[in-house]
Symmetry: C2
Subunit: 380 residues, 2 copies
């Protein structure tokens, strides 16, 4: 057995822990912070209270919230311009806010454009700005990963990867997730579930990452339905948030698999929430996947409270039912065929997730999965 686990940032967990942000920023010696935050959190007043807390510690602040959907190069460049003169980056929100914050912390340190680092074209600066990340969805795990996704100049999905983009401090505050609507709670929780499951069962998996992935599966399964049904249940919200964070650690070390091949391929066709696409891709492939009948699949099943992997497809569909998951793609997908999706699934940038899948994924498998997915587009 041999494995490697990337560093894990300091994590502070607890109800209202975000109120310690000012003090935390001061211990980093920060003078001026840029806060990358989702626009609806600005509207909710969160950015105002955070700004006040930082200013009470003598730290000047700038708010960047001019982004929607998944990060685009233009968002990164606008944030980067605002980051001039800052020595701390704070990301508050979903995966997009965190990814922008992580990239900006690196680019601001070197003065380089994000494209300089896209697809690992050049090494990242060794001394990026300090970063504090505060996830407000329990899903992406970006707060503990080294992966950052954005759309390049031609709209193509690009990534910047490296330990230099990782957080210095993560604040996990369940109370910030309590207002997440039921459908997003379900989608994001299922996305985190798939992160943990794929990292625990793909070709790159190892016992170091499974330690986190299995705990993530236990936490998410124990809390997801409750969090969907009772939005204000902070115990369930906390378990989801911690589970999603641990799932982030797992994918940071072992990556994902076929469900993420599908969700990235879908995103190449038309806008769709990453978490919904991943959940649908997972349900469409789990029955096929468990035929691999590996020890890792059985262990993941065990962490789900299921005695063998063969029972997972029914278990997963039932979990999705209980969380009210509507199996449908956005209307924009009506314009595309299964062949369109299959082509995206076979595109070079989506091959790592195909190859890491524990079963060989043949072109015929892809055509079948694509047909199954596109049936969800037209309500068939």
């Amino acid at each position: 057995m041999q494995f490697s686990m990337s560093f894990i940032p300091e994590i502070r967990f607890g109800e209202n822990i975000h109120q310690t942000l000012g003090r935390a920023a001061r211990t980093f010696g920060a003078q001026r912070a840029i806060i990358v935050i989702d626009v609806f959190l600005v509207q909710s007043g969160l950015s105002g209270s955070v700004t006040k807390a930082l200013e009470q510690e003598g730290i000047r602040t700038r708010i960047f919230s001019a982004f929607t959907g998944e990060p685009k190069l233009a968002h990164l460049r606008a944030a980067l311009e605002m980051a001039t003169g800052c020595d701390l980056v704070i990301g508050i929100g979903g995966g997009s806010a965190l990814d922008i914050a992580k990239i900006v912390a690196c680019c601001a340190a070197s003065g380089r454009d994000p494209m300089h680092y896209a697809l690992a074209a050049n090494p990242l600066p060794k001394n990026p700005l300090k970063k504090i990340l505060v996830p407000t969805t329990a899903g992406t795990g970006s707060e503990t990963s080294a992966t950052n996704i954005f759309s390049g100049p031609e709209g193509k999905k690009l990534w910047i990867w490296g330990a230099e983009t990782k957080a210095d401090l993560v604040l996990l505050d369940p109370s910030l997730t309590a207002t997440l609507p039921a459908n997003l709670t379900a989608w994001c929780g299922l996305d985190a579930f798939v992160h943990a499951f794929e990292a625990a069962t793909n070709r790159n998996t190892h016992s170091g990452a499974q330690f986190y992935a299995h705990e993530a599966l236990r936490l998410i399964i124990g809390a997801l339905e409750t969090a969907v049904q009772e939005p204000g249940n902070l115990e369930a919200r906390g378990k989801l948030l911690l589970g999603s964070c641990y799932a982030g650690i797992a994918i940071d070390n072992c990556g994902t698999a076929i469900a993420h091949n599908i969700s990235h391929a879908l995103a190449g066709l038309a806008p769709v929430h990453h978490a919904l696409a991943t959940a649908l891709g997972f349900e469409a492939t789990i029955g096929w996947l468990v035929e691999a009948a590996t020890v890792d699949l059985d262990r993941a099943a065990g962490a789900c409270g299921v005695d063998k992997a063969a029972k997972l497809p029914a278990f997963v569909s039932d979990l999705m039912d209980r969380c009210g998951l509507v199996r449908a793609l956005p209307n924009a997908f009506d314009a595309f065929s299964a062949a369109d999706l299959a082509r995206e699934m076979k595109a070079p940038e989506n091959q790592p997730m195909r190859r890491s899948t524990i079963r060989d994924v043949t072109d015929a498998d892809i055509d079948r999965f694509a047909a199954r997915m596109m049936a969800l587009a037209k309500g068939q």
Copy 2:
């Protein structure tokens, strides 16, 4: 629920993983490294092969192995002098080698004497030298902790504490632990067991640290007897090493308790191996401790495979029997009385471990424990 987990360094685990040290040092951009290494590892040829690997990567090296027993101020100063001009510190060995390496990395960066930082007198430098730690005993967990112990000018135990002393990279190589003699394997493994147990059950415990502590208990209990009986069993050695590392993470966040009060107090009287003293202190107090009957104690029992905490005293004594633990203190303790030990146990520097214990520790408790311990000095 609220908790905080300090950062966890990158960890690479595997048989012969230490052979990747040269490459790892190069990725840190190192030009000149000081290697703090136990003298018997110099004699075994390990320092030679490590030096060669580093020099093949263009990194010049200096070897510091002029220390024995627990680190003393003079050792630190000698290592520090040798570290001038180095940009990387590598610690290879038991807890002493690692603690010296961690302190030197900080002091070399600032040019300050270790006493400047002792007992948190001054903040540590923010940019210490990079540190790679390679533990060769499975016990202290120093590779994942921020605590470092040394004896000051008057022989008094001092500490330097801070995240700045933590490793940048940890290499866990079971093959380096295979030559550890049976008695040291048992002592160090039991020390790690106590780290995990105390961190999982004391007043500072929380679910964040219990995640690591419980896994450490499972790993250590599943492997300790085998490692003692079959020194070359690398699977068992690996589990012990990983368990000890996870126990280090647990104490890094929650600290220890009464067994460590006793072992530190014993060390104040006469030289004794820390791990042996801790194991003996644990057996002398576990029967009293479990009367607290807390949920945390029952959970720790569960991780030990025991259905309730009340069964732990018998379980622990049986484990120690199976590992061949001789319940005796070194002869030097014959010169001391129970009153001497009780006085040390009540000394100010040992009160944090007394106060963190889940039961109130009265003076009468201390007198009783001291009498029990000192009976081990005279073979009564």
